[in-house]
Structures are given as C-alpha cells and as structure tokens.
C-alpha cells in the first residue's frame, strides 16, 4: 500500500468507528456537588458514588434500556461551592444548555432544588436527589430517588422511640442553618406521635461557628440529662469531638444522626464503649455487608479505588439514588429524561434494585407524589467500630399510621409546601 492509500483507509476506518459510536447513544449524567472547598468533604464522595455506579455498567458494555439496547454512561461534574442556590442554577445552565445532560443528581437542599425546578422541567431533565427536600406538582421532573434527607431524620428517631420504650428524654442538637432547621422539624415530627411518654429536653440550635468549643456546646446538653441525642449539622470531625465531649462529661445514652464517620470517633473513644449506642440512618451504608450484596460490592470497589480513609457513607447514598434512575432507564424505551420519568411513574410503586418494592409518596407535604419512600435500614455500631443493621424501617407504613400527628409539626417547622 502506498502512503495515500493508507491515509484513505485510515480515514474511512476512523469515520466508521465514529459512526458506530454514535449509533450507541451515550447517557449524559450531571452531578452538581461541591468539588473544592470545605463542603467538598460531602460533594466529593457523592460524586464518586455516581461515577462508580456508571463504571459498573460501562464495564459491561453499558446499561440496557427496555428495548435491550445498551448505552454507555458519561458522568460530568459541576461545581457548586457549598450548596448555594445561585451556584446551583449556574451549574444547571451549563449542564443542560451547554452539555445537554439527560439526568442530574443534585443536593436535597430545598433552596437549591427550588432554584433549578423550572429549568429542569422545561428541558425535561430528570433531576433527582438522595431525598426529597423540595418537590412540586408543577415540576414533575424534580424527584426524590430514595427516602433520604430530611425524611430519614423523622424515621430514625421514631424507630428508636418505638423499639426502645425506656427512652424518656430526647435532646435535639441542630445547627442554625436551613439544613439544621429542616432536621429540627423532622426530628420533632418523629417524636410527636410518642409525646405522651417522651419529652424533648433540649432543642436549642447552635451557631455553626461556635463548634470550635465542643465542651461549651455539650455542657448544657448533658445537663438536660437526655436518654437519646439526635444530631444534624456537624462535620464528621465535629461529630467525633461532640461524642468525645459527651462521653467525657459522663453521658451514657444513645446517639442518632444520618451518619457517623466511626473511624474518626474511635480515634478518640474506644469502640467498645459506644457499641450499641450510636445509630444512623440515611439511605444505605455500603460498609455494612449483610443488607445488600450489591452495595457491599460497591463498597469494596470504592475502598479499593480511593482507600479506606476516604470512605464516606454519602458515597453509598449517591449510589443508591442512582439505582432508582437505573430502574427507570431499564424500563424505558429510550434513555431520555422524559421516557425514564414516564417509566418510573407508570404505577405507584417502583421495584427498586436495592430496596425492593417502594411507594411513591410526598403528596401531603409537597402536593406531588414524587418522592420514592424506600425502606430505611437503621444501623447501630458494634464493638469494633463497624455497623450492623438494627432494623429496616417500612417508612411508608409508619407515615400512613402517624402522618396526622407528624404533619402539623412539619408544617409548623416550615417543611410543608403542599398548600402554598
């Protein structure tokens, strides 16, 4: 072959390859999360959870839609410095208008969800989160993939009260920001059905800036002598310092939060001292092997890739949120936001790949049943600093039984937008 022929053959071959690649539609998924700065400690593991989820499919030739056609998944990250609404909208504009993504995973922070509701809906980009946060009948493309935040706070505290009748006094420790205010309302809502036997002994929000003095923060909480402390707003390191301060003061009761980074905690307090006392429930904790072999495998590949020290439960939370989108893609004729949404909402339940049959809910609070109420595993620490499943809460059942008591408390806490 002379040089010319070679070039022509190479050119034809290259064209053929490109043509082949475009026949197989790529699914573009955007992740809007803090990638640098202080909040990246949450944003980075969340992003990695989505990336590993995508890699699992890509390694097997892609994800198959209902027609059996396989699609590669491309994950693009967009930075939002620390979950601010303005940054969220900017990131969405880039993702949707410039990069033409089909799906976006974002924070559950209500203000950020509200900010992007319109652009996501107008462009039919299915936008999900690891929790509800904010939903609205006007914006059907905004969904909550899993029970997640902030609903899990209510289900965690109610589960503990229901299963442990000796809890008489609860302290609620939340930061004084919109995150923390939502958590405070949900914790209160979860306690209200048990108001006859349970008293809230502490519920003063704290200034996040004051967390440098953990002992000062812990002293009045200890003085209120609670049997259970539920927390939201501490960073993983602050959680460890908080437990350390409480233990030093002599606290003997239980702790609950969406998640604990036990490695940091056991650096300060022996795991045995805390065994059976520290509870968490967010979505799923992949570091616990018995709940689901699939998330357990995910945990192993995460740790292999990034190391044990980089592990955060938030990675599994993001991973789990993506599996709801996955269920939709597999039932849809084409991997577009519109088709996947329709596939997910054909019935009022979804066969969730990790959690099994889950109900759409949320109408009482948001006026739209766009929140998938996945069963919620509650974890408790063991004497080695690991976690085991305490129970899997059927959240839809609890909600139906207790919503009359819980709803007014949520409304009072500014968490109900259904009638607005």
């Amino acid at each position: 072959m002379d040089l010319m022929t070679r070039i022509i053959v190479a050119g034809v071959f290259a064209c053929g390859l490109t043509g082949y690649a475009s026949a197989q539609e790529t699914i573009n998924i955007g992740v809007v999360q803090p990638q640098a700065g202080e909040c990246a400690q949450w944003g980075v593991p969340i992003t990695r959870g989505v990336q590993i989820w995508a890699e699992e499919f890509n390694a097997n030739g892609g994800i198959a839609d209902a027609t059996g056609k396989k699609h590669q998944i491309k994950v693009t990250t967009y930075d939002n410095n620390c979950y601010t609404a303005g940054d969220e909208l900017t990131a969405f504009r880039r993702a949707i208008l410039d990069d033409k993504v089909n799906f976006i995973l974002q924070t559950f922070t209500p203000a950020s969800r509200q900010a992007v509701a319109q652009i996501a809906t107008e462009n039919k980009v299915l936008t999900t989160s690891y929790g509800a946060g904010y939903l609205n009948a006007k914006y059907p493309f905004l969904i909550g993939s899993v029970t997640g935040s902030p609903g899990s706070y209510m289900f965690l505290v109610s589960h503990l009260l229901e299963t442990r009748p000796d809890i008489k006094k609860v302290a609620i420790v939340t930061a004084d920001h919109s995150f923390g205010q939502a958590a405070l309302a949900y914790y209160k809502a979860g306690i209200t059905p048990y108001a006859k036997r349970v008293e809230i002994v502490y519920s003063q929000p704290y200034d996040p800036a004051s967390t440098s003095d953990m002992l000062g923060l812990a002293t009045p909480i200890f003085a209120s002598s609670p049997d259970l402390i539920v927390e939201l707003g501490f960073t993983p390191g602050q959680q460890a310092l908080f437990i350390e301060a409480m233990e030093q003061l002599g606290y003997k009761g239980l702790y609950g939060s969406e998640g604990w980074t036990m490695g940091l905690v056991t650096e300060r307090i022996p795991a045995a001292q805390l065994a059976g006392r520290v509870f968490s429930a967010y979505v799923v904790d992949a570091s616990e092997p018995s709940f689901s072999p699939r998330v357990s495998k995910f945990y192993k590949s995460y740790v292999e890739k990034y190391g044990q020290k980089e592990w955060s439960v938030l990675a599994s939370v993001a991973y789990a949120a993506m599996t709801t989108v996955e269920a939709g893609i597999q039932k849809a004729a084409a991997p577009t936001g519109d088709a996947v949404r329709q596939a997910l909402f054909t019935t009022d339940t979804v066969d969730q790949p990790l959690f099994g049959k889950s109900h759409w809910g949320g109408a009482e609070m948001y006026g739209a049943n766009n929140w998938l109420l996945t069963p919620l595993p509650v974890y408790v620490t063991d004497d080695k600093g690991g976690v085991k499943v305490d129970a899997v809460v059927d959240v839809a059942k609890w909600w139906n039984a207790n919503k009359d008591a819980a709803l007014p408390v949520l409304a009072q806490g500014g968490q109900v937008s259904a009638n607005k």
């Binding site: 200034d207 953990m214 923060l217 002293t219 390191g237």
Partner: protein
C-alpha cells in the same frame, strides 16, 4: 463549676488565636490576613508529625515534636512574609493587606492539594479527663490552657524584661524614634512577625487535637481574633488578653443559656459598639 472550667477553656482558645495577631498588629500596624492560615498550617504540621511519628515515639512526644516543627515552619513563613511582602510594600498598608489575603488563599490551596479538602483529625496526645469539684476538664484542653498561659507569660517576660523585647515595644510606639536610637527596625519587624507567626503555629498545634482541622479553619479563627484585638485595643497585647477573657466568659454563658445561635451576632455587635464609643478599644492607648 463546669461553666467556670468551660470559660477558662474557651478563654485560652481565644487568647491563643489573638496573641500573635495582636503582637504583629500592635507593633507593625499591618493586618496579616494569612495569620489564620499560619494557625491552620501549624495544625497540619502537627497532624503530619503525629501521624508519622506517633507509632515510633508515642503520642505525646510526637505531638511535642509537631508543636516545635509547627512553630519553626510558621516562624519561617513569617520571615518570608516579611521579606517578600512587608519590606517591599512598606508604607502601603492596603497593598500589604491584599498581599496577605492572597497569601492566605495560596496557603489554603497548597494544603488542599497536599492533604485534600476534607477535614482531618489529630488523635489526641493526652487522653483522659481531670475532675475538678464534680466538673471535668479533658486533658487535651488542660494542654491548651497551659499552652496559652505559657505563651502569654513568655511573651510578657520577653517584651517587658528583655532588651529585644524593649526594642519591639519602642518600635511599636515610635518607629522613627527607634530608628534614631540605632535600632534596626527592619530586624525588629522581622523578629516580631516571626514570633507572632510562631505563636500561631504553636496555637494550631495545641488546638488541633481538640478541634477538627481543615484547610479552611483559619478564617473563622481570624475573624474572632480580629474582634478580640479590636475590642481589647489595637496595639495593646494585654488588652487582647482581657478581651479574650471577656469573650471566653460571655460566649460560654451564651451557649449555656440557650443563646448559642447568636454568638456571631453578639460578637460583631460588641465590636461595633466598642468602635463607636471608644475607637481605641477598651484598653487601648490613645494614638
């Protein structure tokens, strides 16, 4: 009783932050915005030393090495800052301020690149709790109290009882007059920045084990330190000590009695009030 111990403990935190900044600000009338990052770097240096040395030489010794290295590293940074920024930009306070602000971002970014943006935790060199009349004081906090007390006393002795300290005070009060006595004001400036920055490093080393360390921990610490030195009186190191005690007690009582979420607000309000009523600060000398 627990409240008294908490007051003491918080006062020592505040004092530790504010001392070095008050010295630099008081003597050189420059605002070192990177002071908070020096504090942060002190904590990270200690983290590094404890993480690498603790298995061989034990937690407390590793921490001690960390504190010494932290002081050396931040002292060196202070010297570099003096040569690279303060000398060339002398008489341009705004330019110095902006440059130190830029330096603070550079240092933050470097630490993010090396250690990542996620906060770390220094495993406490001293465990256990000291009981005082039914109240408790964790050993690691006793360490901060001791460090803050030692730093302030040491600084006091150095400034009031030694000849280099006397020169520092002379430059603070009248740089031109000091120059005419044959004092090398440049050396004094350099020394002051080294001492102030070194104190920030030691403070980072002692605060590290009782708080989470992150590349962004410098900002909030600096903010509080500014409030303290403004309320205490700019240029008056002892005013800063008094102001640290005032805020230590006030903030503890507010957290205790349910005002925890208003801490930032009250601090800022007190600062504005002091500025409008007595701009030289509670214990400041008139210029």
């Amino acid at each position: 009783m627990q409240i008294v111990l908490n007051c003491l403990s918080l006062t020592s935190f505040y004092l530790c932050f504010a001392l070095g900044l008050a010295l630099v600000f008081g003597v050189m009338r420059i605002i070192n915005f990177a002071h908070g990052e020096f504090f942060m770097i002190g904590a990270y240096v200690t983290y590094f030393c404890v993480a690498t040395l603790a298995p061989q030489i034990g937690g407390p010794s590793a921490w001690l090495v960390g504190a010494i290295v932290a002081a050396a590293v931040t002292g060196l940074l202070g010297a570099v800052l003096y040569r690279a920024v303060v000398v060339p930009l002398a008489d341009k306070p705004l330019a110095i301020f902006i440059s130190t602000l830029a330096l603070s971002y550079v240092l933050q970014t470097i630490v993010v690149q090396i250690f990542g943006p996620v906060g770390l935790s220094i495993s406490p060199p001293l465990r256990g709790v000291v009981s005082v009349g039914g109240a408790i004081l964790p050993a690691s906090r006793v360490m901060v109290i001791v460090a803050a007390a030692a730093l302030s006393t040491g600084l006091w002795i150095y400034l009031m009882r030694t000849e280099p300290g006397r020169r520092i005070r002379a430059v603070a009060q009248n740089p031109r007059g000091a120059l005419l006595q044959g004092i090398k004001t440049r050396n004094v400036g350099n020394l002051t920045l080294i001492i102030g920055s070194g104190i920030a490093g030691i403070c980072g080393a002692s605060m590290g084990p009782i708080s989470q360390i992150s590349p962004y921990m410098g900002g909030p610490a600096l903010w509080k330190a500014f409030i303290i030195i403004i309320v205490g009186g700019i240029g008056n190191v002892w005013g800063a000590v008094a102001a640290a005690a005032i805020f230590g007690v006030l903030d503890t009582l507010m957290s205790q009695f349910g005002g925890g979420r208003f801490l930032a607000l009250t601090s800022a309000a007190i600062m504005l009030f002091v500025l409008s009523v007595k701009p030289s600060g509670l214990f400041g000398e008139k210029e």
